[in-house]
């Protein structure tokens, strides 16, 4: 299975590098962007090499999502709890970002294991921030306390101007994703992948996984939501989460898997396309070889294996060819 790690590989690498050479003064200034339009900026100055300032910008929230002070509900509390003792939240954040954290790396736990855990947590800042509203809802499910917004639909941003929906109910939480893809082939592949996913869920061995279903039109839970927020071209995926899915350590994993579900599906689609392309290349290759063999000797030397292109064989053709 392809699973995206919750920590940013580059951020973790940079943090480790910094922590292992803390006495060395360096100048660092780096910007990058991750899936879902989450942007990062890190800075270390020669003057204060033990500090690292980390800024994060989140995807633009659609109108149905609630942000407090530029952050999703519960994010501020989540940050304070996760990075206690080493973090200072700068107000206002760096220009163009939703959040700037000033991390004091000399205050990290001395013990290796604890320190590693905290560094991974810092590198997972997007999960802490973007996953906060979902974590709040799922936490009350796991502790069986009544959610403050029982039976009220919560919209949570996960991609620029796109949100998914969470409905806290007694004893369960329903999570619904409108699935959108830009490319028409992606949309077809995604739709079939999502249906396969539902099938797979029904098979033996996955009885403990959350219930899930797919529908082309919005499920009834979303009847109040304005139509603009529901313009999905690859249908809707619904997961039903029960307390057993969010017990203890499972909570964090569930939050991450759900907040990155769209990225997961789209990664899967790209992998499928890659796989089909290699198949096509192999087939074109063997076709060319067959043609070469079939040619009269005089011409045989002309067609070399050079033209491995599968140009002209578009993905759509290959689908119909292969399944016919």
């Amino acid at each position: 299975m392809i699973l995206l790690q919750s920590s940013s590989k580059f951020l973790l690498q940079t943090l480790l590098n910094r922590v292992n050479n803390l006495e060395k003064a360096v100048e660092l200034d780096y910007q990058w962007v991750e899936f879902g339009d989450v942007r990062y900026h890190i800075q270390v100055t020669m003057k204060n090499p033990q500090y690292l300032s980390l800024s994060v910008s989140l995807p633009i929230p659609p109108p149905e999502t609630i942000f407090y002070g530029g952050l999703p509900v519960g994010a501020l509390e989540a940050i304070k709890a996760a990075y206690i003792g080493i973090v200072q939240i700068l107000d206002p954040p760096r220009d163009g970002f939703n959040l700037t954290l000033k991390l004091n790396l000399s205050k990290l736990p001395a013990q290796d294991e604890q320190r590693q855990v905290l560094l991974v947590k810092i590198a997972s800042v997007r999960e802490v921030v973007l996953g906060a509203p979902l974590a709040v809802v799922l936490r009350s499910l796991s502790s069986k306390t009544v959610s403050p917004n029982l039976n009220q639909l919560v919209a949570i941003v996960h991609r620029p101007k796109e949100s998914f929906f969470v409905l806290p109910q007694a004893e369960k939480v329903t999570v619904i994703f409108p699935m959108r893809f830009k490319d028409s082939i992606d949309t077809i592949l995604a739709t079939s992948f999502l249906q396969e996913l539902i099938e797979a869920r029904r098979s033996a061995g996955l009885q403990n996984a959350p219930l899930c279903s797919w529908s082309l039109s919005p499920p009834p839970e979303l009847k109040e939501v304005p139509a603009e927020a529901l313009s999905a071209n690859a249908g809707f995926v619904t997961f039903v989460i029960y307390p057993r899915h969010v017990e203890g350590k499972k909570l964090e994993k569930t939050v991450w898997s759900l907040s990155t579900f769209h990225a997961y599906a789209s990664y899967h689609v790209k992998c499928s396309e890659g796989f089909m392309h290699s198949r096509m290349r192999r087939r074109v290759d063997s076709l060319i070889q067959a043609l070469d063999r079939a040619k009269p000797d005089s011409e045989a030397s002309m067609g070399t294996g050079q033209s491995k292109s599968f140009k002209g064989l578009s993905l759509k053709d290959s689908r119909t060819n292969s399944s016919s």
Binding site: I2, Y30, W32, D37, F275, H277, K308, S309, K311, S323
Partner: protein, 428 residues
């Protein structure tokens, strides 16, 4: 304007040995990973027997197995610890030679390393100046069809290296790029941002050869380095202790007179028994890099030394560009990081040029006044990833986005559009 132009472009320089990847606008790539893929071959074999009936099953199995691969350092580690993974090197001597492996490599660069959505960013990729136009089409097909990138530009590596070589505030786009990487060494003249294709020269030895030579010298002296480790150790020795000397005979004498000062020690741990070991590092410190200047000490046959190759390259370029080319010999690639490489190269080229000049003067007598030729080998701190850095700089100019091929162009005209990539402002 599409939103992707507001985000930094992804810049990936796939070298024969190492791939440099990151986002435009930064000084350094985010990751440098060996260009290698570890594939689970058990699946590939079964994929070769196509049967329509179980296409669906095969497809799912295929997708699953397709995900069972690793790239970079993880690939190397995986192939060591498990026999079901085989290493495959997508690029050989600067050319992609396994497109399946290349596509997989890109897939993980994008999703696992950079963790970006390829639909969100324009991409700048690089290629060697010897790359055939068809190869650019395959790259375009993969980028546009598999990854749905909104825009793509395929830049020629030495041109980017030149763009990186700011000596003054003005960027000089005429010069000779000497790129010594891991698996290919090329000497490429560029005039006003255009590669002078007919004058490109290659040199048979590369960074890998330096490593092999060091490994061989150490082994011949009878040092005990565990054989499964010896190439890696030799590489690290090369990167840490090697330097380019000005005269081998003098250098040998120095070592013999003051061994304590020059001979270094390598401390390692045997991978199997975990027992510590040490090994002396002696003459190989300067003998390794010497293969560029006296190739016969390594390869036996008498091939032309690198400085003469540079000279031949410039001599074969149009006469009106030659002076400018001698004046701006730019280094690029990891192996040019060998200490004092630039000084030795400059000295040796200068020698060739001066000797030719003297011969001319001798033939024509004093009455013919020949202007002296300025030879300048330019070295700069980001030489190791000059190509990537040049890409990072160019891809952050506003002209870059306009010079890219877009997905819409691709859909309308097909992959042949990727054959040409216009030189744009910032490059000249």
């Amino acid at each position: 304007m599409d939103a992707a132009t507001s985000r930094p472009a992804v810049v990936i320089d796939n070298g024969t040995g190492y791939s440099k990847m990151g986002f435009a606008g930064n000084i350094e790539p985010s990751f440098i990973a060996p260009t290698v893929v570890a594939v689970n071959e058990s699946f590939l074999n079964q994929g070769r027997t196509p049967s329509k009936a179980n296409w669906q099953a095969q497809h799912s199995a295929g997708v699953m197995a397709d995900l069972d691969f690793y790239i970079g350092d993880e690939a190397v580690a995986k192939s060591r610890s498990s026999s079901s993974y085989n290493l495959s090197y997508p690029i050989r001597h600067g050319q992609v030679d396994n497109w399946d492996a290349m596509e997989r490599f890109w897939q993980q660069c994008i999703f696992e390393y950079l963790r970006c959505d390829p639909e969100d960013h324009y991409f700048l990729l690089t290629e060697s100046p010897m790359t055939a136009p068809e190869s650019r089409e395959y790259t375009g097909e993969i980028m546009f069809e598999t990854f749905n990138v909104p825009g793509l530009y395929i830049a020629v590596q030495p041109v980017l290296a030149l763009a990186a070589g700011y000596t003054t505030s003005k960027c000089e786009m005429t010069g000779v790029v000497v790129d010594v990487g891991d698996g290919a060494t090329s000497v490429v003249p560029v005039a006003e941002g255009y590669v002078i294709g007919s004058s490109i020269k290659s040199f048979p030895l590369t960074g890998t050869d330096v490593t092999h030579f060091i490994e061989q010298l150490i082994r011949e002296r009878g040092e005990h380095i565990p054989s499964e480790d010896s190439f890696e150790v030799a590489r690290k020795i090369k990167e840490t202790y090697c330097y380019t000397c000005s005269d081998i005979v003098k250098e040998y004498n120095k070592y013999d007179q003051e061994p304590a000062k020059y001979i270094k020690q390598w401390k390692g741990i045997k991978p199997k028994t975990r027992a510590p070991y040490t090994c002396d590092i002696g003459y190989e410190r300067f003998m390794g890099p010497e293969i560029f200047f006296n190739p016969e000490i390594y390869s036996g046959d008498t091939s032309t030394p690198l400085p003469s190759v540079v000279d031949k390259c410039i001599q074969s370029a149009p006469i009106d560009t030659r002076r400018a080319l001698y004046k701006n010999v730019v280094l690029s690639g990891g192996s040019t990081m060998l200490k004092d490489f630039n000084r030795r190269l400059q000295r040796d080229i200068k020698k060739i040029v001066d000797e030719r000049m003297q011969a001319t003067t001798a033939r024509h007598g004093e009455e013919l006044k020949v202007q002296p030729v300025e030879v300048n080998v330019v070295s700069h701190p980001i030489q190791r990833y000059a190509v990537w850095f040049g890409g990072s700089v160019l891809a952050s100019t506003p002209e870059f986005f306009a010079a890219c091929h877009t997905k819409a162009d691709y859909e309308e005209y097909g992959s042949t559009i990727c054959r040409t990539n216009p030189v744009f402002k910032g490059m000249y």
